[in-house]
Amino acid sequence: MSGNYFVKRVGQAVLTFFATVTLTFVLYQMMPGGPAEALRNVILQQQMGSGNTIDPARIEQLVAQYTNLESDAPIYVQYYQYMSSVFLEQDLGESLYENTAVTTLLADRIPWSMLISVYAMVIGYTGSIVLGAVMAFKEKSRFDSVSSVVVIGLNSTPYYVAGILFIFFFSIRNEFFPTGGRVGLGVEAGFNVAFMQSIAHHAALPILSMSVLGLGAALTMRGNSVRVLGEDYLRVAELRGLRNSRIATQYVGRNAVLPMYTQFMIGIAGVLSSSVIVEQIFSYPGVGMLVYEAIQVRNYPVLMGSLIVFTLVTVVAILIADLTYGFIDPRISAGGDNE
């Protein structure tokens, strides 16, 4: 892996991230009436109950505080200020409702969402890989055709539908799992068994329903394995009298799983995005819930902040995937165009 490639890839990632932050800035500007007008409406609505009138200067001040935008400044100054507060001060503005920085809110929630996303991906992919490999090994058997239909069926079930069904069967009909929350009431937080158990108990259903997203990989794995099974090197390995276990892991497994690696890393980001819907179903207080709540009240700074953070996670996941791929697949030489 050459240093140049490393620099190039990191540079590309930074550029991508920069582009997204710019995009959020553009989105603010594109709001009906511009950011100040849009926020003013929200703030006015919020203040309505209190009966206070609020003077325009105060609103300008609030807009600047919440969004890092001074709407009366020239656009390039606004842009510069916005970018510098995001990049230099890691400041994504402030939530309209709680007096909390968006970064703090997100930092609180991200670990919980990552928890369920990563586990969902790992479980979904592990299951898929095992299933796909067995299907390929028994290609054209009854097991293979039945599994194919089952996988297509599961694949046709949106993860939120899976979530609803899980709640219905495992929380309402049988109370195996809680219907919501991320930890039981009255469980003492900290590094203790009860707390960990409670976390696992609460995360189980969201993880399970999101792992449906990874299931399509079973068919990919099946296809890859069938292809590898037909390769010359596999035949030679058999002729060489190698152990079956070695052929299964080092030859079929490795060569069939490798092409799915990048897909997997990007998948984590995709799953994280889906948490918006899943967390709402399970009332699981992660970033997804935060986003959902922010939409209800048009809490724009939180929305934009989440978008930036989601992108950051994706950029990092893809970056890691690209940088490590060269290590696990020697054919992709450094700097190579991996098409």
Binding site: L27, N155, S156, I277, I295, M304, L307, T314, E339
Partner: protein, 328 residues
């Protein structure tokens, strides 16, 4: 230099007794190759068959169905009528007394509009970018397009769509479809590009270039024809994705409730605590089943298309080509 040589003249002037193929026979052959043979292939592949039937049924629902079944409105019928009791509302009614079957049917046209807009944007755009970029490999156009694609590929689609929806509150199904299609194209464009690159390596493309065929002909005949299976399969998959996402967003209540939609029905049922009320089960179950069926149909259809596009299978099922299979 078309120096007309004598040998050549005699060769081409040699009168061989060949009856010209009549036009009707040519048309018959075209029909056999491009319509009849693919249909015969589809008949032999259960996935293609089932998939096509399901997609066709939904299509009929969205066209004929809307015309046959009245648009439901509140109080059409008793509230929360259970299913399979009354022929007029065979799937039962919801909490407002609207027949569920009619709602499912009337949600279909907008769904199709969304799907078509989304699939056109994602697959069409992907194909355009991928083909142009692949064909102009190594040029500035290629690198620029691919850099842009790489950036957009990284912006997570669903959160972006949610933000856009929150800001703009789109109501038109076409706009929603386009928004949902936006995050799908970059990945496809990359794969299309790499496919174009490998097609370009084939000798027959080089031969076409050397024979001086126009770029348009080469793109159409050699490149797109080869990409068609891929594009079709992905259109079906993109459609499924758009259905999933739009229904999900309606279900969450993020998209405005201005139209009949399976997701809206699910939302109302779910918010009405349907999971705990057996008398409401059907209100939640039928939209769920509908989504499942449509998606199942699309996946099967996309897999079946693989064999329909397979030229070997088509040739075997064509009646105007004799396939003795012995030429391997």
């Amino acid at each position: 230099m078309s120096n007309d040589q004598e040998g050549l003249e005699t060769l081409f002037d040699a009168d061989i007794d060949r009856e010209p193929v009549p036009r009707s026979q040519r048309l018959k052959r075209q029909f056999d190759l491009y319509v009849a043979a693919p249909c015969r292939v589809a008949m032999t592949d259960w996935r293609a068959l089932v998939g096509t039937v399901i997609v066709a049924v939904f299509f009929l629902m969205g066209t004929l169905g809307v015309w046959l079944v009245d648009k439901p409105s509140s109080g059409d019928a008793p509230v929360l009528e259970p299913p399979f009791q009354n022929f007029d509302y065979i799937l039962g009614t919801d909490t407002f007394g609207q027949p569920i079957g009619a709602q499912l049917i009337h949600a279909t046209p907008d769904m199709f509009k969304m799907v078509i807009a989304g699939a056109v944007v994602s697959v069409g755009f992907a194909a355009l970018v991928g083909v142009v970029s692949g064909f102009l490999r190594g040029t500035t156009v290629d690198t620029t397009l691919m850099s842009i694609t790489d950036i957009i590929i990284t912006i997570p689609g669903l959160p972006l769509v949610i933000v856009l929806v929150a800001i703009f509150q789109p109501e038109s199904p076409y706009v929603i479809g386009v928004l949902l299609g936006l995050d799908n194209w970059p990945g496809l464009a990359r794969t299309v590009r790499s496919q174009v690159l490998s097609i370009r390596e084939e000798s027959y493309v080089e031969a076409s270039q050397i024979m001086g065929l126009s770029t348009g002909t080469i793109l159409r005949r050699d490149v797109l024809a080869q990409l068609m299976p891929y594009i079709t399969v992905n259109s079906a998959l993109a459609s499924r994705r758009i259905i999933f996402e739009s229904v999900g967003l309606y279900f969450l209540g993020i998209l405005p409730f201005t139209t009949f939609n399976w997701g809206v029905m699910m939302n109302i049922a779910y918010e009405g605590n349907a999971l705990n009320r057996p008398d409401m089960y059907h209100f939640l179950t039928f939209p769920l089943l509908t989504i499942f069926l449509m998606s199942f149909g699309l996946v099967l259809f996309s897999q079946g298309m693989d064999s329909v596009f397979n030229v070997r299978l088509r040739a075997r099922h064509a009646s105007t080509i004799d396939d003795d299979g012995g030429h391997e």
